[in-house]
C-alpha cells in the first residue's frame, strides 16, 4: 500500500504492507531513529510521537492509520540548534540517565502541556502515567515538566 504523511514538516511516502506499524515506518522507512521501541506492547511509552499534535504510541498504530496525517517525532521539536523548551528543561533538570525513555517522555510531556498548560505536580505524574522510566525515579522528569510549564507562563 502507498502511504504518505507529513513527518516533522516533510512529506514522506513509501509503499508498505498494511501490517507495517507506524513506529517501523518512522524508524525504517523514514529513517528517523529517535523514536525508540521499548516494550512493543503499548505499555512503556518509549515510542510516543504526535499525530495531529496529540501524543500516541506509535507501536500501537498502523502506518496506514496515519496516512495523510501530520506526524511529529522527537527530531521535529528543536528549532535548528535551539532546543525545544521541554528538551531544554530536561537538560537543565537532569531528567534523564540512560536516555532510552526520553524521546517518548518529552513527546508525552509536550502533549500534556498542550492540554493542561499549568499542571500541578499530581497532574504531571498522572499525565505521564503511560511512560515508564527505569532509571530516574521520575523525580527530575516531573521537575523538568513543571519548569517547562513555568517557562511558558
Amino acid at each position: 500500500m502507498h502511504v504518505s504523511m507529513t513527518i516533522n514538516g516533510a512529506d514522506v511516502s513509501h509503499d508498505v504492507e498494511p501490517r507495517t506499524l507506524l513506529v517501523h515506518f518512522i524508524r525504517e522507512d523514514a529513517g528517523l531513529t529517535g523514536t525508540n521501541i521499548g516494550c512493543d506492547s503499548s505499555s512503556c511509552g518509549a515510542c510516543t510521537i504526535h499525530v495531529n499534535g496529540e501524543a500516541v504510541k506509535s507501536c500501537t498504530m498502523l502506518a496506514v492509520q496515519a496516512d495523510g496525517q501530520d506526524v511529529t517525532t522527537i527530531e521535529g521539536l528543536a528549532d535548528g540548534e535551539t532546543l525545544h523548551p521541554m528538551q531544554q528543561a530536561f537538560h537543565e533538570c537532569h531528567a534523564l540517565q540512560c536516555g532510552y525513555c526520553t524521546p517518548g517522555m518529552v513527546m508525552a510531556a509536550v502533549s500534556l502541556l498542550d492540554e493542561v498548560p499549568d499542571p500541578t505536580e499530581a497532574e504531571v505524574r498522572e499525565g505521564l502515567e503511560g511512560n515508564l522510566c527505569r532509571c530516574t525515579g521520575y523525580h527530575n522528569i516531573v521537575a523538568a515538566v513543571l519548569q517547562a510549564a513555568g517557562g511558558a507562563r
Binding site: 498494511p18 501490517r19 506492547s41 500501537t60 498504530m61 498502523l62 496506514v64 492509520q65 499525565g127 503511560g130
Partner: protein, 274 residues
Amino acid sequence: MIPVAFEYELATSAEHALSLLAEHGDEAKLLAGGHSLLPLMKYRLATPAVVVDIGRLTDLSYVREDGDVLAIGALTRHRDVETSDLVRSHVGLLAAATSKVGDPQVRHRGTLGGALAHGDPASDLPAAIIALGGSMVIQGPSGSREVPVDDFFTGFLETTIGEDELLTEVRIPKAPEATWSFQKFNRRAQDWAIVGAAVMVDGDRCGVGLVNMDSRPVRAGGVEAAIASGASAADAAASAADGLEPPGDLNAGVDYRCHLARVLTRRGLEEAGR
C-alpha cells in the same frame, strides 16, 4: 511483534463499512482506535484476513442531546468523551470512568464504541454504561436496532453485534441531578482495574456496574434492589459479589476479588451520597 499479513480496506461511510463486512463475512474485522484489536493482532491472538478501518468515520464521532437522552457516536474517542461538557454535566459518571482508561496516549486513540464492542469484562466503560442504563444502536444490512445494555454483553469478549453489523451510537438517559462514583482498584498507574465499581444514584433510581467480576461486564442487581428498598450502603454492598464468578489470576484470587467488589461498591455508594 508484527501482525499476520492482512488486506486493508478503508471505510468511507457507515454504509461502505457494512458493504465491506457483507462482502468479506467472518474473514473481516472492524478497526476503530485499534487499542484492543492491534495488541491482539500483534500477539497473533487475532488474525483477521481483512481489516476494515472505520477510524476515519468522523460523522460517527459526536456528543449530542436528543431529548432526554445523550447520544454519543461510536467513534468518539475517549479523550473527547472525557472532556465533553455535555458528558460531564449529564452523565458525569461516564466522564469519570473514561478519564481512568489507560493513559493519555491510549485515550487519544481508543473509542467508546470500540471499548463496548470489544465486550471485555475488565474494561471500565461497560460498567459505567450499565450503571447509567444506556443502550446501543446497532446498524446492519436490514436497518438499525437499539439494544439495552443488559442484553448487549453476551459472554467473554462477546456482544450481540453480528458479524455483518456496526455499532453506531451509544444512548444514555440524561441524569444531570445524579450523584455518582467510579471506584477503580489497581496497584500500578495505568493498569487495568483488578476490580472496579461504577455507581450512579438518581432519586430512587440506583445503578451499579462492576468491572472484572465475571466473564462479562455485570450489573450488581442485588445491590440496586437493596438500595431501592432503603438499605444502608454497607448492607446493600454486602451482596455485591453474590452469584458472580470473577477470574482468579496473579493480581487477585477469586475471594479477594469478591471482597474488593463489596468494599468498592460500599465506597461508591457512600461517595454517591447513600
